[in-house]
Symmetry: C2
Subunit: 234 residues, 2 copies
């Protein structure tokens, strides 16, 4: 009766997204004095069915299946942007390490695949800086373990994700430490999420960070800008 | 005469912070309709001497020595918080990988150490979610390469950083995917930066992400909160 709890990872029942640590942290910033109302309305308008939501004073945790998490994040951000206010969002997606400093899953747990996500267009343009971190290769069993195979697989997955972003026009260049994305909010989130999912098919612990900007006043850019970064201004 | 440019990494002259890719990306969010003035004033008030600054519409790049980068970030955030507005900041610190997807430094470049940073208290309380990612062990030569040595060293360095944060009272608990910090803005930044620097003594490519919240209205927390996260409310 307790075969699941006593089984080794290799023959255990499939882990749920919650058990595998699939989730997001979202910080929604609204550059408007009416931000409390705009944030509360945005959170209330999004469909949280089937998700674990825990909102604190720094960020909101969202746990559940990839497709639902990303859809929820899109709904919250799009609703805030619909206010017309300048909005930015800091989004962390993580898979394969439910804990904090030390993963609660044993290292070397079989990487748990997931289907690509597909979101209906939001109608809202977003620009983002995006970073992707493969941290623990499932086929080697330790964080940063292994010098081939897993790494070759995940580098190929990242390459395919960038190629896809170029084909769809969402890729907007590369800056220090981050790739710049530009397009419909849904396309920006899909690009980052599907690369995170693709790498996660061979790497147990993968995180990705997005800083997304919406409704930015064009006037602020020349005022704040120094020389354009390499690759900027495409 | 061109010994530096033709030398192998092992016998080359020490890399500058710029060559080693030491830098930050900062997104400053001001929850106030007067945000343009507050952000411009904050950026102008900070001392950028010796730093490469490039502000775009998504985030600001800051390149230079660790001590100066972290000092600049503290000055900008503290100045914005001095307006009294609710402010959040998304901060990415990176070392050892000047490029974007593929590091421009050869993998296995000797990890470049740096001194701990020490900041005068800002007088501003900050709360943050913090994540730290050791990505490329210098003694193994590939991202995620090697199963011992480097990993043991960097896990020990992370452990020491957390112990130090507990001793100084800055550690405030652990949430999914992030450690919660609470204290003077300078202490919060020091904690994250010195762990990043410590891990960077044995790991070539290390990044750390902070989402920092200041002047958050206490009224928003119970309104927005679900059940407290594990370890919250300390």
């Amino acid at each position: 009766m307790d075969a699941v709890t006593t089984a080794t990872p290799a023959d255990a029942a499939p882990l749920t997204p919650q058990q595998y640590g699939v989730g997001a942290r979202l910080t929604l910033s609204v550059y408007d004095s009416d931000y409390v109302r705009i944030i509360l309305d945005a959170l209330e308008s999004a469909d949280a069915t089937g998700l674990d939501i825990d909102t604190g004073d720094i960020s909101t945790f969202v746990g559940g299946p990839e497709r639902r998490i990303v859809g929820y994040v899109r709904e919250v951000i799009a609703a805030a942007a619909a206010s017309g206010a300048h909005v930015s969002a800091s989004v962390l997606l993580s898979r394969g390490c439910p804990g904090e400093l030390q993963c609660e899953l044993p290292a070397g747990t079989t990487a748990l695949g997931a289907d690509d996500v597909s979101l209906a267009p939001s109608g809202v343009r977003a620009r983002a800086h995006w970073s992707l971190y493969p941290l623990l290769d499932a086929d080697h069993g330790t964080d940063h373990g292994g010098e081939s195979g897993g790494e070759a697989d995940h580098m190929a997955a990242i390459g395919r994700a960038i190629d896809h972003a170029r084909e769809t026009g969402v890729y907007d260049g590369s800056d220090h430490y981050a790739t710049r994305l530009d397009g419909d909010l849904s396309a920006v989130l899909e690009t980052a999420a599907n690369a995170w999912i693709a790498v996660g098919r061979t790497v147990q612990h993968v995180t990705t960070h997005l800083t997304i900007s919406l409704n930015s006043p064009t006037s602020i850019r020349p005022t704040l800008s120094g020389p354009p970064a390499a690759g900027a201004g495409r």
